[in-house]
């Protein structure tokens, strides 16, 4: 067996080196390139998404503010165009706006004192007390109140301490100072516990400030809307105006009520200070509140001069990217493992088959043909060159073994044959010598046979005489048996006659029974007659007494008749029984008679057969006698033949000695052949198979 190869030189090692290492390098390069590109693309697209989403949210809030402004301007326009002073109609309009605009928290109109000249009339039909302010001034404020009927309540407007006159005084002063009558959106403040922002427009009648109309929007509504946008965006949103938080989708730690809080007091101050107040912009910086790296996007809401800031942590991007990277890596690793396993399986199978082929070749070279690798070769299912090589090796091994085995078997048989030949020639010599002695013994035996034949002839003549006597006596027996058979036949006829007579008796007895029944019926009638006669006699009274006696005697007579007929019936029945028993007996006797007759006839037939046999035996005995005479002549002929055989034996002993010498030479040649075959080893099973196949060995 050769020394084992180093791993890097073996089939397996080299396939690993040239197949697996390049594959791993290529996969790693692809994964890395993909990862970098994915990172860049994803980050850019997320930034774009954030920017456009923020712009969208700002636009949506702007549109809502714009809608409110339009509504207030419409209210002012309605007042200026003829509704001013028609208080009931104005109230109806306010109520209608409240009902149809769910975003509005409150709607109100405030007139200058006695601006319409109706302050003095006070509460009238359609204008309740609650709609009036000081001195009958028209000052209604509709607000939502879940406790009120219909969810809406009206009350007079009131100044609040911290509103700084935002909703009345500021628009008034602004108009009088600069004749501006635009809508004013106030900063957020608390109006009787509700955080609101107000949109106010002055009413101008004939160039003079006559009052205001306005709508309140609750910050809770803005907040709810903002939270919804934030959820859709997956980020936090803050709304700011004039240095204050308006609303936020989340609460900052330690600042549970962010709304209306001064930004200067918030931890988010640096962000808002550095963010420009115009346009859309994205910054990446550390959140001062959580210490996390975040994207901050800011945009402006023109209507109301608001600003919107969106915050999204950068880790949201990284999270997606790392997931992608891990998936790529897993796929790559799985691919490498599959390649390595397939290569390893291929190389291991091939190297095993080549190894097996190599070992077989070495064994054959060393002269060992005993091991059988056909089982291992059959287990190999693959169809490649290594498997073909292995199969060829197995076939060669088997063929060589068969050839060597055949030669060996042939030489063995030759050797055995030569030994046998030598032994045979010696044995034959001995036999020839013994044969001479035997012929003398045979001659003596033949003489004895001829003496015995003469004795047998006498015995046969004696037996013939006895047989003739037996035949005579058998003929006599047959005559007496014939006589006996005739007697039996006559007896049978007599028995049949007796049976017939008994049957006649039985028929007569049946007739007697009929007669007896008739007698019994007559007796019965007589009895009945006697009873009726007695009844008649009884009816006849004294005159019938004698008749009564007679009837009684008749009845007695009838009774006796009945009794007698019963007796007769019984006797006849017994007689019938006896007769039928007799008939049965006679029948049985007849059957026995018949069987006796048959037996006698059979014995007669048998005797006739015996007599015939005896006659035939007499003829046979004569033939035996003739045979015996012939035998005597035959014995003499045998004697002369034996003498000639003894002469032949002496001649053959000379040729046997020559035959022995040839056998010895054959044995010598066989020994040389055996030496040549001996260097091959064969398996035991193979040896047996070939030994039985002598034809193959001969070829």
């Amino acid at each position: 067996m050769a020394a084992r190869l180093a791993f890097h030189r073996s089939l397996l090692g080299r396939s690993m080196l040239y197949g697996v290492v390049p594959a791993v390098l290529v996969v790693l390069a692809v994964v890395t390139l993909n990862g970098v590109r994915a990172w860049t693309n994803l980050e850019a697209s997320l930034k774009r998404d954030l920017l456009s989403a923020t712009e969208l949210a700002a636009a949506e809030i702007d549109i809502r503010n714009e809608k409110t402004v339009r509504l207030v301007e419409f209210m002012a326009f309605a007042q200026e165009s003829g509704q001013f002073g028609r208080r009931a109609e104005s109230l109806a309009m306010l109520e209608r706006i409240m009902r149809e605009s769910p975003d509005v928290y409150a709607a109100y109109i405030g007139y200058e004192p006695n601006a319409d000249g109706n302050d003095a009339q006070g509460a009238v039909m359609g204008v309740p007390e609650e709609a009036l302010g000081e001195g009958g001034r028209f000052y209604p404020y509709f607000k939502r109140d879940p406790k009120a009927i219909g969810g809406i309540r009206v009350e007079p407007l009131q100044e609040v301490d911290d509103d700084e006159g935002l909703w009345y005084r500021v628009p008034k002063e602004r108009f009088e100072r600069s004749r501006v009558r635009d809508a004013v959106i106030t900063k957020p403040y608390s109006y009787f516990g509700t955080d609101i922002i107000e949109t106010v427009v002055p009413i101008v009648m004939e160039g003079r400030f006559a009052g205001i109309v306005g709508l309140d929007v609750a910050l809770t509504d803005v907040q709810a809307r903002l939270s919804q946008i934030a959820r859709e965006l997956g980020a936090d949103i803050f709304l700011e105006t004039r240095g204050r938080f308006l609303a936020a989708s989340t609460d900052i730690e330690g600042e549970p009520a962010l709304r209306t809080t001064d930004i200067a007091l918030s931890p988010l101050r640096p962000i808002f200070e550095e963010t420009p107040t115009q346009g859309v912009r994205l910054d990446e910086r550390v959140d001062p509140n959580s210490g996390e790296s975040c994207y901050f996007v800011s945009a402006t809401v023109p209507t109301g001069n608001w600003r919107i800031v969106v915050r999204k942590p950068t880790s949201a991007v990284l999270g997606q990217l790392s997931g992608l990277f891990i998936a790529n890596m897993l796929t790559a690793i799985a691919g490498i493992i599959i390649i390595v396993s397939l290569l390893a399986a291929l190389s291991i199978g091939m190297s095993r088959r080549v190894q097996l082929a190599k070992e077989t070749a070495e064994r054959i070279a060393s002269g060992d043909l005993a091991s059988d690798i056909t089982a291992e070769v059959a287990a190999v299912k693959v169809q490649d060159e290594s498997a073909d090589l292995l199969r060829a090796m197995a076939r060669m091994n088997g063929d060589l073994a068969t050839i060597v085995e055949s030669v060996r078997a042939a030489s063995l048989r030759l050797s055995a044959t030569s030994v046998e030949l030598a032994a045979n020639s010696r044995q034959q010599e001995t036999t020839v010598n013994a044969f001479g002695a035997s012929t003398a013994q045979i001659a003596a035996a033949i003489r004895e046979i001829s003496a015995t034949g003469a004795e047998l002839l006498r015995a046969v003549e004696h037996v013939e005489e006895g047989a003739r006597r037996t035949a005579t006596s058998a003929t006599a027996s047959r005559a007496s048996l014939d006589g006996m058979a005739k007697t039996l036949t006559r007896l049978d006829e007599a028995a049949g006659d007796i049976g017939g007579r008994l049957r006649v008796i039985a028929e007569k007895a049946s007739s007697i029974t009929v007669v007896v029944e008739t007698i019994a019926k007559v007796a019965e009638q007589t009895n009945l007659l006697s009873v009726n006669a007695a009844i008649e006699a009884e009816k006849a009274g004294e005159a019938g007494l004698g008749f009564l006696v007679v009837s009684r005697e008749i009845r007695r007579l009838a009774d006796q008749t009945a009794m007698a007929s019963l007796d007769i019936e019984r006797i006849v029945r017994q007689m019938q029984d006896a007769v039928s028993t007799g008939v049965t007996e006679m029948d049985r006797f007849a059957v026995e008679m018949r069987s006796g007759t048959a037996s006698a006839q059979r014995v007669t037939t048998d005797l006739a057969a015996i007599i015939d046999d005896m006659d035939a035996a007499a003829v046979g005995f004569a033939e035996v006698e003739r045979g015996m005479s012939a035998q005597g002549i035959g014995v003499t002929q045998i004697e002369s033949a034996v003498r000639q055989v003894a002469d032949g034996a002496r001649q053959s002993s000379v040729s046997v000695a020559e035959f022995g010498r040839v056998a010895d030479e054959l044995a010598h040649a066989t020994a040389v052949l055996q030496d040549a075959v001996a260097r091959f080893h064969l398996s035991t099973s193979m040896g047996r198979d070939s030994a039985s196949d002598s034809n193959c060995g001969a070829r």
Partner: protein, 159 residues
């Protein structure tokens, strides 16, 4: 008195001989069909259609066996059960298993029993002892002459 001895189911009964017209062997008859079990049907007795009544069913509640010894005892009754008009006199056939003979029995002796009329069985007359044992007189008139007793008798064998 002179009576006709009639054994039924091992019991000896007696019929007044003066009421008996005659004794006849059993004949073929036309069955009554529906009706009480004791009413067997109509038979032609000496050219006259006569109703047949099974006495065994009435006194022992078991039908008479159809043997050779079975007899019809013909009675003449006045105003009987089958009469259409009052005072009509006609015959009736009592079917019995056997008629023994005519005998003289005294039912007025001290050892006699007066019968079961008191217990709602008026046809069971007095019982007397003679040398063969007890013999009970059957009052056929009470049994059949329009008395309610017979009407109340069972009409079905299984009652």
């Amino acid at each position: 008195m002179q009576v006709l001895l009639v054994p039924i189911a091992g019991h000896r009964y007696a019929l007044d001989a003066r009421e008996v017209v005659e004794v006849l062997p059993m004949v073929e008859y036309r069955k009554a069909g529906t009706g009480p079990a004791w009413l067997l049907g109509l038979a032609n007795l000496r050219g006259k259609l006569t109703p047949l009544v099974d006495l065994s069913i009435i006194v022992e509640r078991t039908p008479t066996a159809r043997t050779l010894g079975a007899r019809i005892v013909v009675l003449r009754l006045e105003n009987d059960l089958f009469a259409v008009r009052p005072d009509e006199s006609r015959c009736i056939g009592l079917v019995v298993p056997e008629v023994t003979r005519l005998a003289q029995v005294d039912f007025d002796q001290e050892s006699s029993h007066e019968g079961f009329a008191f217990f709602g069985a008026p046809h069971l007359g007095p019982t007397a002892l003679d040398h063969e044992g007890m013999v009970q007189l059957l009052r056929c008139r009470r049994l059949l002459e329009g008395d309610d007793a017979l009407r109340e008798l069972p009409t079905r064998m299984d009652v």
